[in-house]
């Protein structure tokens, strides 16, 4: 359960606007192939702004709201610690480096697109990013240990998305009420 959320939030370090910017800038700058694993490492493990449960709690809506998940996550974290300004600052921090890098890559594109060394480098970065995604998902799953309903719901959601290829929104709309009903009836 996520009851620790509200009580602990007060005693935890509260980031200032400049810190919100730099953390998301950092995540955007090195997030080749995906920003989320790096954002979680910085926010949960290094800065300790949120614990694992509170992070998962904000990641849920970030996934089902439209838009890029990490942008929504930046808004979630920014809003929580700095209101509207916090959200704006976090999103600007997140997107400024990638915007410049992607435009620079596009400008170079004519020269690099059939260079095997560049392709090898980018493929290696993408593969490493994939590994970080797997590790991050596994870390998020740790609190499920010993929770029968939680494990069942996570496994069923995994199967619906990865094996049955159901649409994301339908999966969330079906699985969340089932999860709520089962947890109410049988506990976590």
């Amino acid at each position: 359960m996520t009851t620790a959320l509200s009580e602990n939030a007060i005693s935890k370090p509260t980031p200032r606007l400049a810190e919100l910017f730099t953390v998301f800038f950092h995540a955007g700058l090195i997030g080749f192939g995906g920003v989320m694993p790096i954002a979680r490492r910085l926010i949960v493990e290094e800065k300790k702004w949120l614990d694992n449960a509170a992070f998962t709690d904000l990641l849920g809506p970030s996934q089902f709201l439209p838009g890029a998940m990490v942008v929504n996550l930046a808004i979630a974290v920014g809003t929580r610690f700095g209101g509207t300004m916090g959200a704006i600052v976090a999103v600007l921090g997140l997107l400024s480096a990638p915007t410049i890098i992607v435009l620079a890559l596009a400008a170079l594109y004519g020269r690099i697109h059939d260079n095997p060394q560049v392709e090898g480098l980018l493929a290696g970065l993408a593969a490493a990013a994939t590994g970080l995604f797997i590790a991050t998902a596994l870390k998020m799953a740790r609190p499920l240990h010993g929770k029968r309903v939680g494990i069942f719901i996570a496994a069923a959601t995994f199967a619906a998305m990865a094996l049955l290829k159901l649409p994301l929104f339908a999966t969330i709309l079906i699985m969340t009420p089932i999860s709520m009903i089962l947890q109410r009836r049988f506990g976590p």
């Binding site: 996934q63 942008v71 929504n72 992607v102 435009l103 994939t130 969330i172 109410r184």
Partner: protein, 175 residues
């Protein structure tokens, strides 16, 4: 030029709130608008820029920045980026302000507890699908497994793990 900027705002502003789970659901309509309707770029360009946006840091949605750049240069890139992230961000701002305010309501706690394992399942599925797509040869499988283990087992900063993966990929291209 002005008409292209306006078209970028209209096309991507609308697609913004339909992009649930990232760019995949809006990809067909994005392609149709950019290639067939507005002739901002060709189909091979579109595929190449999508690959570039995936490889570059930041959300994959940044393919939109590149389409804007093709359509109207730097102003186009900035306007398109603003259009694709603006409306969805406003919605997220409203939702999260409410979400934070309601965190002590009993039904809200039940909703959060219900959503948590679904979120974890989605993250695992996303990681699994990504690994399935990316693990095309033994070298990438090796990098994927190695970096996953490195992040779980060690305190190495993700930056170093990424750099190692890139260097191994680079070395592999010489061989």
């Amino acid at each position: 030029m002005m008409s292209d900027l306006l078209a970028l705002v209209l096309v991507f502003g609308q697609l913004s709130v339909l992009a649930i789970g990232g760019p995949n659901p809006i990809l067909p309509e994005m392609r149709r608008q950019a290639i067939d309707v507005h002739h901002w770029l060709t189909a091979p360009d579109f595929a190449a820029l999508f690959g570039l946006a995936q490889a570059a840091p930041g959300p994959n949605m940044m393919v939109v920045t590149l389409i804007g750049w093709q359509a109207a240069g730097l102003p186009g890139a900035l306007i398109a980026t603003l259009a694709i992230f603006g409306p969805s961000s406003l919605l997220a701002g409203v939702v999260f302000t409410t979400w934070n305010r309601l965190q002590d309501q009993p039904w809200s706690k039940l909703l959060r507890a219900g959503l948590a394992p679904v979120t974890i399942g989605l993250s695992l599925a996303g990681a699994g699908t990504l690994a399935w797509t990316m693990g095309q040869n033994w070298l990438s499988v090796l990098i994927i497994a190695g970096s996953a283990i490195a992040l779980v087992r060690t305190r190495l900063p993700p930056f170093l793990i990424m750099a190692a993966g890139g260097l191994i990929g680079l070395a592999g291209s010489f061989w």
